[in-house]
Every structure is written in structure tokens, then in C-alpha cells.
């Protein structure tokens, strides 16, 4: 309801530029301009725009569910869930176990190759959820005890969990040789190739190309379906209750909502989506990245959703769609463009990524104006 009133009338767009900047958000305006500028530049440099656009769509779907994980967290009142990495490592464990089972021949009964990859991915998701949901509940209970400092706590809880799992990855008892470091014969590889497992499980089905633009409808369908389900959830009674608990806890409490429970619910859904999201990410990327790879992913997804127009107190599914698209759009085009324009400078896209990611988070933080 409050989302509706926050939206401005189109007439103010023409009338008052300052108001527009305020409503739309300065960073979003800058990013949008940058995005269009990059596209124009790419056109001027005669680069393969359709192919880039296909890549943007792919990365959109790749990151989409991880970014979507921010919505329940923010809506339930815990703020941007930097600790989504807790769910991500749960998903990674699921993936590793699923791959290990596959190489032990557990899934040989599924003979259709496309179906085989999908079954593998679904098993990975199932195991990931089985781990992420209890972890999410515990994590949510922890966040209930640290109200007002959720962000700093979630960052360091996320870091701690990722670093703890370093030790686990190095001792993980698996048998599949594709998982194990060949040099020492013990511990998992930094990167596991998913070619023989669930790589492309959702990307490959229905894939087609228009000219140079490859479109992966399977990936996008999964992403949009998740977004649609999240939209339905936020509109449901439970979702409304959760949002109320987040936006006005004392009012919610007065109307009989168990605020603490709602916050745990939001955190758990967020963590669970982290587990699902990393499997979708990995199957599209083609590799499973272990060890320190998920460390900063929390920041990336928080930045994406903020870029889409969310604040640390309110996030909509639309913010996820827009944010993930803009963020990945810029980074996808920046890399080849920088390589053409500035062949001597290797790190331009990385700098851009750092400045955009952390700049947008910093901007959002400075807008909070200390709650107490």
C-alpha cells in the first residue's frame, strides 16, 4: 500500500528536475546514464551489441535469484542480508554432494541427458535447502538479538561462515575425482567443472539464437517464476504480516503479529533463496566456485537490489528485476569495451565494479539517518 503512494506522478518528471533526482535516486540516475552511455559507446566502437545483450540476459538470470533473496530480508526488517552467504555455502554443500552422488552412479537410472542434469540440479537444491533452512532459522534467531546492528553483524557472520567452510572444503570426504585436488589427493578443488554434472541444467533447454544474440529461456523462466512466486508471497496474508513487522514493528506487535517470528521467517526465506540462487548461478557459469569465492557475493547482491531502487527498509520484486539488470548490464558491457578503448589498463571493469557496488551501499547507508 505504501509502495503505491511512494510512486510519483509522471507530471512531476517534467515539472521538477530536482524532485525527479530525489525520487529516482541520484545513484540510480548516474548508473542509468552510465548504462546508456556504455551502450552508445559500444555501438560507436562497432562492437557486437546483440551478442552483449544475450550475455546481459544470461547474467541477469544468473544473479537474479540471489538478488531476489534480499527482498524477504529487507521486508521482514532485518535490512540488506549481507549474510546471504550463509545460504550460499549451504547450496554449495548440496552441489558438492549431488556431484559426488552422480559420480558414484546414483542417478544413472535417468538416461535422458537433459533430464539428468536437471535432476542433479534439483537434488543439489534440495540438499542445499535442507541445510540452509535450519541455518537460516538459527541465523534469524541471532539477528533478533542484535536489532539495530543487523548489517554489521550479518557481514561478519557471513565472513566467518565462509572462512569456516574453507576448513570444511579442505577436508570434505568425497570420492569423485572431479571434485578432489589432484595435487594432494585430499580436499576439494577451488573450481569444479560442471560439464559432466549439472552445468547448463536450466540454460541449455529451449536455448535458441537470434543472429548473435543467444537467449536462454529456461534460465529466465526459472528466474521469472521465482520472482512471480515472491510477488505472490508478498501479496499473501503471511507476506503482508511480514512486511508490516518490518516496516512498523510496534504497530505490528499491537495488532497481534509476532514480530520476532516474522523476522526469522524473512531471514530463513532469504537464506534458502541464497542456496537456490547459487545453484542457478553455478549451472549457468559452468563451474562451482568454492573456498573464498562467495565471500563478497553478499555485497554484490545487496548493491544490485539497492541499485534497483530498494532502500534498507523497503524492497520490491521490481527493484530486483531492474537492479540485477542494470548492475549486470554495466559490468557485461564494460569489460569488452574497456579492453577495446584502453587495452593497456587491465583492471577498469574491476574498479568500476568496486566503485558501483560499494558506492551504492554507502549511499544507502548515509540515507538511513540513525534510527535512534
Amino acid at each position: 500500500m505504501s509502495q503505491m503512494t511512494a510512486k510519483n506522478e509522471p507530471s512531476t518528471f517534467v515539472k521538477n528536475v530536482k524532485r525527479l533526482v530525489n525520487d529516482f535516486g541520484l545513484p540510480r540516475l548516474i548508473i542509468l546514464t552510465l548504462f546508456i552511455l556504455l551502450f552508445v559507446m559500444a555501438g560507436i566502437y562497432d562492437m557486437n551489441l546483440p551478442s552483449f545483450f544475450g550475455d546481459v540476459l544470461r547474467r541477469w538470470g544468473m544473479w537474479g535469484i540471489l538478488v531476489l533473496a534480499m527482498v524477504p530480508g529487507i521486508q521482514s526488517g532485518i535490512g540488506p542480508n549481507f549474510g546471504v552467504t550463509v545460504g550460499i555455502v549451504g547450496g554449495l554443500v548440496g552441489a558438492v554432494l549431488s556431484i559426488n552422488m552422480n559420480h558414484a552412479g546414483v542417478f544413472d537410472f535417468v538416461t535422458n541427458p537433459a533430464l539428468h542434469t536437471i535432476v542433479l540440479a534439483l537434488v543439489a537444491i534440495a540438499i542445499g535447502l535442507a541445510l540452509a533452512i535450519p541455518m537460516g532459522i538459527l541465523y534469524g534467531m541471532l539477528l533478533n538479538r542484535v536489532k539495530g546492528s543487523e548489517m554489521a553483524v550479518s557481514v561478519y557472520v557471513g565472513f566467518s561462515v565462509v572462512n569456516l567452510f574453507n576448513i570444511l572444503w579442505a577436508t570434505f570426504p568425497v570420492t569423485a575425482s572431479i571434485l578432489i585436488l589432484p595435487a594432494t589427493g585430499r580436499g576439494l578443488r577451488q573450481m569444479v567443472n560442471l560439464r559432466d554434472d549439472f552445468g547448463g541444467a536450466f540454460d541449455e533447454p529451449l536455448r535458441f539464437a537470434i543472429g548473435d544474440m543467444t537467449i536462454r529461456p529456461g534460465l529466465l523462466i526459472v528466474f521469472f517464476l521465482a520472482c512471480f512466486l515472491m510477488y505472490l508471497f508478498t501479496r499473501s496474508r503471511l507476506g503482508m504480516m511480514m512486511s508490516a513487522a518490518g516496516s512498523n514493528p510496534s504497530y505490528a506487535r499491537a495488532s497481534g503479529i509476532n514480530v520476532e517470528k516474522m523476522r526469522v521467517l524473512g531471514t530463513t526465506i532469504s537464506t534458502a533463496l541464497g542456496a537456490v540462487g547459487i545453484i542457478i548461478y553455478a549451472q549457468s557459469f559452468g563451474f562451482l566456485q568454492l573456498y573464498l569465492a562467495p565471500l563478497m557475493m553478499g555485497f554484490t547482491v545487496v548493491a544490485s537490489v539497492l541499485l534497483g531502487g530498494a532502500t534498507v527498509r523497503r524492497a520490491r520484486v521490481f527493484d530486483v528485476l531492474l537492479g540485477a539488470f542494470l548492475f549486470n548490464g554495466i559490468l557485461t558491457i564494460a569489460l569488452p569495451l574497456a579492453n577495446t578503448m584502453l587495452p593497456d589498463v587491465p583492471g577498469v571493469p574491476e574498479m568500476l565494479r568496486l566503485i558501483i557496488t560499494y558506492g551504492i551501499v554507502l549511499y544507502a547507508l548515509s540515507k538511513v539517518k540513525g534510527g535512534r
Partner: protein, 486 residues
């Protein structure tokens, strides 16, 4: 008594936990004291200054300053420029510090402004700020240097001429601070002290102030210090063995431990005599006798063959340790100045501070500037100790390790002192030295120990943040309960 013991255990739980982990790791590692001590004292000299840079923001209520990374960047920018302009040796290091100061002041001011706009979220803000700043830092080093500002000095640049190399050798600046000999320190400080006393006298004469020997503004203290320095100065020119001893730039651990024992004992005895003479307190000053006893026990411990053998191989960089000691004294002095007291008031309650007429925002910015400048100096000490500057990596983990060390020493988000910093550095870096060796012995690979120590650093920060937030929630609840009861 029972309660006291329980309180002590609870108050020092983090320290005790890490102490037991460290002792276990020492036992499991099988390292000799020779290796362990020399490594520990090197790391203490390298890292303590940076940890001390964290104290002022804690006092001012800004929490753990994750923004010290920005100070480290200021140091690295200056280091690069000084190497580029041909700085060398000790003068080179001092030029770096001189150049880093204004850069750190500007950056500290900006971070302070930013933190004022996000009161209550300074810690997460500091984390994000350091990562954000890293983007611009990379832009500067990868693109501006060589890409926009042409740089002809090929030793520092990548093969394309655009962008700075990832590892820069410091040449003669390597350990330049660590290598300043005691002879030079003694000589320079003698003349500095002489000049100071002379200037003090001239100042008093010009201002027509009375020249007193005793009392708070008396000349006795500077004169006594000058006297000691003079004795040292004369000794270096007359007694050859003493000259040879001071001509070394490192102090043997055995001598250092004895020197420390003598200094502590002398200070305590001086206080005991003064207390008895002034009859300030009735009875004997038991606490001071206990300290004397502890020093005696400590001294006896150093005579154990294992320990004394270890200490004999320790080479303490005298000048670096003196800077650290100086900073400790400075912070202790600063807390009791007017500005320091204002910071403490703000740290306890911003509303009270505002009511008392303190300019909260300005004072917080000053705290951030001080911390950032000190962090820049701390990073200079770290880099010169390594002898190589890792252009794109040296600053990144500085915040994590410094903050973890401070917390391991028993500090919290709202309370931190010099004591916490020193204990913390000793314990945390002991773990850093021992963990890989211990895991090699226990699990067959050093890797686990390396993972464990990074995990421990992160976990101790997570724990401190959780405890802090928890207390804050409880306090708020109590206040609410009181308000409704009243």
C-alpha cells in the same frame, strides 16, 4: 572472593580463550622458543602501531574503525611517490610520513564527514568505505599513474608503462626505521633534549615567568632526562664497549628483558619512596610491592634455559619499539586532555555531550583524522618492516587483522585501551605464527592452520559485534521497562 574470580573470568573470557588456544597451538606446533620469540617480537614491532591507531575512535564512540584501511592507502600513495622522487633510507621514510600526513588528514576528514551522516552504522560504513576507496585507489595506481601522468621510472611500472607494478621493492628504505642504531638515537635525543631545555628557559625568560625547579611546571623532570642522556652520550665517546654495544641497531632480547625489569622496578621504587615520604596513603602500597614481586618472578622465568635461549636470539628493532612506546604514552596523555575528555563524553552519550556544549560532529571528525593519520604511520612501519610494498594488497587486510588483534586483547566496541592493544597483538600474532605449524603436526598440512587463523580473526570480530549489539538491545529494553514503571 568467589564472585571476584568469576567476574575476572567473565571479564577476560576472550583473552583466556585465546590464551588457551595459543598455549595448545604452541604445544602442538613443536616450535622452539628461538623461532617463536624472534618471530613474535618482529611481528609485535610491525603491527602494534596500527592496532593503537584504533583506540581513539573507540573512545569517541565511533566503534572499531574499519576505515583505517584508508589511512593505509594514504601511506602507500606517499610511499610510491617518495620512491618515484628518489627518496632513500631513513630520510626517505620520514619524507613518506611527512607526505602521508596531509593526505591522511584530508581522507580522515572525508571519512569523518561520512560517518557523521550515518551515526550508529559507522562500523558497517567503515567496512564499505574501505572497499569503495579501494576502487579509487586502483584507479589511481592502475590508470592515473602512467596513463594520465606519464611516469618515466620503469622500475615501478608495468611493461606497458601504464599502471604500477604489484610488488615494489623499497631498496634502502627496507627496515630503515628498524635499523636506526641506538647510538644515533642517543645522540639525536641528547641534542633534541638540550635544545628543548634551552628553548624552555628562553621562553620563560622572555615571558618573564618565574623559573622553578619543582612543581608541575618545574625544570627537574626535563633536567633529569637530559642528565641521563648526557651520561649515555659521554659513555659512547669514552667507553669503547659501550660504543660498540650502542652501534648495533637491534637490542638483544636478554638485555631488553633486563632493561624492562630495571625500568619497571625503578619506577615502582620511586613511587613507593614518594608515597612514604608524602604520607599520601596510610600503610604500605601493597599493589606496588606485588608488581615488584611479579617483575622478580618474571626475571627468574627468563633465566630458564628454554626462555633465555629463545630471548638470546631475539633482535628488537629499538627505534620502532620506541615509537610504539611513545604512541602509548601519547594516547594515555591525550585521554586526559580536554579534547580527550570531550571524546570520552561523546563516546558515553552523544546527547549529554551536546547538552554540555561539546561540538559532537567536529570532535568526531577530529577523532577520525587522528586515527587515519596514525593508521598511515602504522602502515609505513608495516611496509618498511617487510621491505616490499604489495601495491594492490598491502592495505586490504590491515583493518581485519588490527581489529581482530585489539579484540583478542579483551577490548570491546565501546572500551579499548593500550593494555588491550598490547596483549591482543601478542596473543593474536602468537596464534598467527603457531597455527600453520600446529596444523602441520596435527593434520598433516599447514593449510588448515592458515584457514583457521583467518576464521578466528573474522569470528572474533563477529562475536564482538554480536555482544555489543546484544548489550545495546538489553540496555534499551531496561530503559523502556524503567520508563513504563515510572
Amino acid at each position: 572472593m568467589n564472585n571476584k574470580v568469576r567476574d575476572f573470568l567473565f571479564e577476560n573470557k576472550v583473552v583466556l580463550l585465546f590464551l588457551s588456544i595459543t598455549l595448545f597451538a604452541f604445544w602442538a606446533s613443536g616450535l622452539s622458543t628461538v623461532v617463536f620469540f624472534s618471530e613474535l617480537f618482529t611481528r609485535f614491532g610491525r603491527n602494534t602501531f596500527m592496532v593503537l591507531a584504533l583506540l581513539i575512535p573507540v573512545i569517541a564512540g565511533l566503534g572499531l574503525n574499519f576505515g583505517i584501511v584508508v589511512g593505509a592507502m594514504a601511506a602507500q600513495i606517499s610511499m610510491f611517490l617518495v620512491i618515484l622522487w628518489g627518496g632513500d633510507g631513513v630520510s626517505g621514510i620520514f619524507s613518506v610520513a611527512l607526505l602521508a600526513t596531509p593526505i591522511a588528514i584530508v581522507l580522515g576528514y572525508l571519512v569523518g564527514r561520512l560517518f557523521n551522516s550515518m551515526k550508529g552504522s559507522e562500523m558497517i560504513g567503515g567496512m564499505v568505505t574501505s572497499l569503495f576507496a579501494d576502487g579509487f585507489y586502483q584507479f589511481l595506481f592502475l590508470f592515473v599513474f602512467g596513463g594520465i601522468i606519464p611516469i618515466a621510472y620503469a622500475r615501478l611500472m608495468t611493461s606497458t608503462g601504464v599502471g604500477v607494478l604489484n610488488a615494489i621493492d623499497l631498496g634502502d628504505m627496507r627496515q630503515a626505521l628498524d635499523n636506526i642504531s641506538m647510538f644515533h638515537i642517543l645522540n639525536v635525543s641528547f641534542f633534541v633534549m638540550l635544545a628543548f631545555v634551552a628553548l624552555l628557559l628562553i621562553y620563560r625568560l622572555v615571558k618573564k615567568q618565574p623559573i622553578k625547579m619543582f612543581g608541575p611546571t618545574g625544570l627537574i623532570k626535563p633536567l633529569v632526562i637530559l642528565g641521563f642522556l648526557l651520561i649515555g652520550y659521554i659513555l659512547t665517546w669514552t667507553v669503547t664497549p659501550f660504543l660498540l654495544f650502542t652501534y648495533e641497531n637491534r637490542l638483544n632480547g636478554v638485555y631488553a628483558s633486563r632493561l624492562v625489569a630495571i625500568i619497571i622496578s625503578a619506577v615502582q621504587i620511586y613511587h613507593i619512596i614518594r608515597d612514604i615520604r608524602d604520607e599520601k596513603r596510610p600503610g604500605l602500597p601493597i599493589k606496588r610491592f606485588v608488581i615488584l614481586g611479579l617483575v622478580a618472578v618474571g626475571f627468574l622465568v627468563t633465566l630458564l634455559p628454554e626462555i633465555s635461549n629463545g630471548l638470546a636470539h631475539v633482535r628488537i628493532p629499538v627505534f620502532t619499539y620506541m615509537i610504539i612506546g611513545g604512541l602509548c604514552l601519547f594516547i594515555k596523555w591525550f585521554i586526559n586532555t580536554r579534547l580527550g575528555q570531550n571524546m570520552r563524553t561523546i563516546g558515553q552519550d552523544r546527547n549529554v555531550a551536546t547538552a554540555a556544549g561539546i561540538n559532537v560532529d567536529r570532535t568526531r571528525i577530529i577523532a577520525m583524522i587522528m586515527s587515519t593519520v596514525l593508521a598511515a604511520y602504522g602502515q609505513i612501519i608495516i611496509i618498511q618492516s617487510f621491505g616490499v610494498m604489495t601495491t594492490y594488497g598491502a592495505h586490504m587486510n590491515v583493518g581485519l587483522y588490527a581489529i581482530a588483534a585489539l579484540l583478542v586483547g579483551g577490548a570491546t566496541v565501546t572500551r579499548a585501551s593500550v593494555k588491550h592493544a598490547i596483549i591482543g597483538v601478542l596473543l593474536f600474532h602468537s596464534l598467527f605464527i603457531l597455527a600453520p605449524a600446529a596444523s602441520t603436526n596435527l593434520m598433516g598440512a599447514a593449510l588448515f592452520g592458515e584457514y583457521f587463523r583467518v576464521f578466528a580473526a573474522n569470528a572474533v570480530i563477529a562475536l564482538a559485534l554480536i555482544m555489543h549489539a546484544w548489550k545495546r538491545v538489553k540496555k534499551r529494553k531496561n530503559e523502556k521497562a524503567k520508563a513504563t514503571a515510572a
